[in-house]
Structure formats: structure tokens, C-alpha cells
Amino acid sequence: MKFSRIIANSGEWLSGDGPNRHIVVSSRVRLARNLSKKPFPGWAKKAERLEVVKLVKDAVEHLPEMAESYSENLETLSSLEKQVLVERHLISREHAAKGVGSAVVMNAPQSLSVMINEEDHLRMQAICCGLQLDKVYEMINRVDSELEEVLDFAFDSRLGYLTACPSNVGTGMRASAMLHLPGLVMSDQINKIINSVNKIGLAVRGLHGEGTEAMGNLFQVSNQTTLGEAEDEIIGRLNRVIEQIIEHEQNARALLAQRKPITLHDQVGRAYGLLSQAYSMSSKEALNLLSIIKLGIDLCVFPDAHRFPIDELFIETQPAHLQKGAQTQKMSSEERDALRATIIRAKLLQVPQPDIDRLKIPTPATNEKK
């Protein structure tokens, strides 16, 4: 499959539906695996890296999950194409910096991707919309089991899967969820939440920027440790914490709507006004305003039909996605800001003005759910 074809559509995790979709944007599980007794990518010589790429790529391409897939050596991808994959969360920033001796394979719905010779020989991920870590783990676990039949993975009966960095040893698993938390940010509770989650051995990070500086109110929660706990225990712990964060976010939104309706109306109105009228917009401003529109959709101020087009803008207004669709070879940042504003205006034209009377306060989460 060609790059242009795979990239023509948004990934399934963006366009699909899943539980708690209004707060949990996506769930993702990454597994690190290495071939036994072969130097890790960072230490291997070029010839050794090429050998691993050949071996692993062949195995991955033959997976039933990859029947329809895109598979490429990184040196044949332009830096722009690699950046597009980063913005879609399909490869890591570190992997995008690689060239000869590294590769990537992904399936057509972009729900599975395998980085070959990133920091480990294999970094494979499954990503899905909403909160469904168990399902995502099942997806990647199956791929792992299939690959295990043809590849000799480095494994120690006491330490588990062996990785280039000791911080990934054991399960080699990083499970994470991307959360949209405008309520907690607006009510100044986000730092409190971040601190308490960090205390129990999980990490919270802004997707673009840290803490209150996080752009677009997007945060990523993930496990920090990989040794001493089984996969389902790690995911169970993560699930419980995420469910609590969801509850806090819901309460914060309800409180905002009840006690500060003017502030909320004002914010939504301004976001709509700027996005639909501006002719130049930075990435930061766009992400923050789009986050408010997204909140508006959750609160029924905008029709739900516009959820996907707005979600898509979060990705489409990123620098590499803009450049990809541009006329000029290499846009200046002014040109980029102008193009970003144009794309957003065009989409906002389809979205009706905010209808404050339709605002529905989300039912505050209680313990007696279900």
C-alpha cells in the first residue's frame, strides 16, 4: 500500500467510537521486544541493524493482521512523511529521527503499527478510540504471540522480556490513555490530579507541553513501571485511576456549568468567533480553542454530528499535515498560520453558532453507576 493511500484517511482511533469517548480520546498499548543475543539497535552496527530489519519486517508483513498494510524502510521516507506519522501517533519522535536500518509497518486502519529498530528491535502498538485498554492489549498481545512463533525474543525467566533500557524490562509494556480534561484545567484542579496520580506510580503528561501549559487540554496517563506486576494488573490499576479522573472531570464540567455559566458561554462563544473568523492562527491557539469547541459538543451546545470534523482538526492543523497539503515547498511559519486558519474557517462554516439554550449539564458521576 502506498503512503498517500494509507494517509488519505484518518486512523480508526480518531474516526471510531468507544466507551467514554467524550473524555478519553484514545487508548494505546505499546510492547517492546528484542531478538535474543543480537545487539540492541543503539549499539548495533549498520550491517547488524539491516539484518534485523530484514528478519523482523518479513515476519511482521506476514502477520494476518497486516494483510493490508503499509511497510517501509525509514530512509525511503521524507522527513515530512515521517513527521506526518508522528502527528498521527503511529511512530515516535525518536523513530522519525532514524534512517537506514530502521523501518515501520502499519495496518490500513492505522490501529496497529510496528516500529523496527527504534530503541528496541520491535516496538509494536495498538491504538483504539475511547477507554478500552483491555481490548487494545488483546490486539497487541495476539500480534506478539504470533511473532513469538517465528522470532526468538530475548526473555529471562526472572526478568521477563529484556529491553535496551532497564526501565522497560519485564512486561516491556507501556499502556496509556489520552484524556481531554478542559474541566479540570479551567477549574485549576489539574495539578492536584497530576500530583496524586504521580504518587501512585503512574505518569501524567501533557500531550503538547506540560502541566497547566498543556495545549489543547490533552493529557496522557501511563504506567511507569514494567517489572513486578503482570500486564492485567498494570492495566487494571490504570483503568481504575482513569475512571476516577473521568469522574473528576465530569464533576468539574457540571460545576462549571452550574456556577459559572457566563464564563463557560463566553469561552465557547469566543472560541467559535475566533476559529470561524481568524486569518492567522498559531498551533497553540488553535489547539486551545478547538478544545473548547470539543467541550461545547460534549455539553450539547453544538450538534454531535460535528464531533468527528472537529477532532480531525486537532491532527490536520499540525505542522506536517499542513505542509503536506500546501502548495509551496517549505512554508514559513506565517504561511503555516494562515493556512491553518483557512482550513479551520472552512470547517467551522459547517458548524452552526453555539446554542447556549441547549446546554446540558452532564450528570455528575456518582458511585451508583451501573
Binding site: N34, W43, D144, D156, L159, G160, L162, C165, S167, A230
Partner: protein
Amino acid sequence: MQCDVCQSKEATVFLTQIVEGKMQKVNLCEACSKEKGVNDPTGFALADLLLGIGASQEIEKSPAAVKCGVCGFTQADFKKTGRLGCSHCYEVFAEGIEPMLKNMHKGTTHTGKAPVAYRAARVHGEKIKSLQANLSKAIESEEFELAANLRDQIKQVETELPK
């Protein structure tokens, strides 16, 4: 057996040392043992050879540090990159990595998924362990007939050793 330091010559000096209540072993060839001053036990801290534990200046100066026999990685390389060279490095630098893992993680033993081959071995190991526990109980309570029976069972299970 190969020398742990130069990874080339035959080891003739076998050293065991207790560091912080933990037994550590190093095998050295004649030349390396002299160079490291093994004959002078106070001048040779075994721990210093190994990653993580108070890496002394002695080691930083020494070019002939422990090297991974598979990939040629040394602890100096680890200091530089914070990454290991290959999966075998975990065995070579085990004593140094251990305390690091303890600090980093929830535990020091993997309890999660294992490749199919290891899963069989794990089940097998647990089976033998439980039989042995029963055996010592039987011996303690002087049930010798049961003990003999259990011993036979253990022998039987041990021959079924999975690869």
C-alpha cells in the same frame, strides 16, 4: 571458563565476595587478576567491576572493564548511553543491574506474560517445587512411605523436563 574481564583468556582465579550481604562471583585469568590486584583483597572491590555499585575512579580509568562476550559492551558504555548493548548484557552486568531495577520498578521478578516455551518450564518448575515441599513435610512428620512415593514422583516429573 572465560575470564570475566578480558573475555578471552581462560580463567584460573575464582573469586567470591560478599557485598552488602549478597554473594558475588567473578572469574579471572592470571593476567587480569594481577592487574586488578586480586591478591590484595582491600585493593580490589569486586563491586566496582560491576555496574551501578559505587563505580569508582579505579574503574573509569581502567580500559579493561567487564565486557559482554556477545556484543562487546562495557559499563563505561552504559554510563554514556543509559542503555545496554544486547540481551546477554543482563547476565554479564547482572549484579550491577539488580539494585537499579529494584529502585526503578515495583518488584524484581517478572510475573507477566512469557513465551510459550517458558510457560511450560514455569509450570514444570512449580510442579516440582510443590512436590518437594510435600516431601520435606512428609520427612518431618516421619511418613517415610509417603516420602518414598513423593521422591519417585519427583524423579518421574524431572525426566519430563521441557526444553
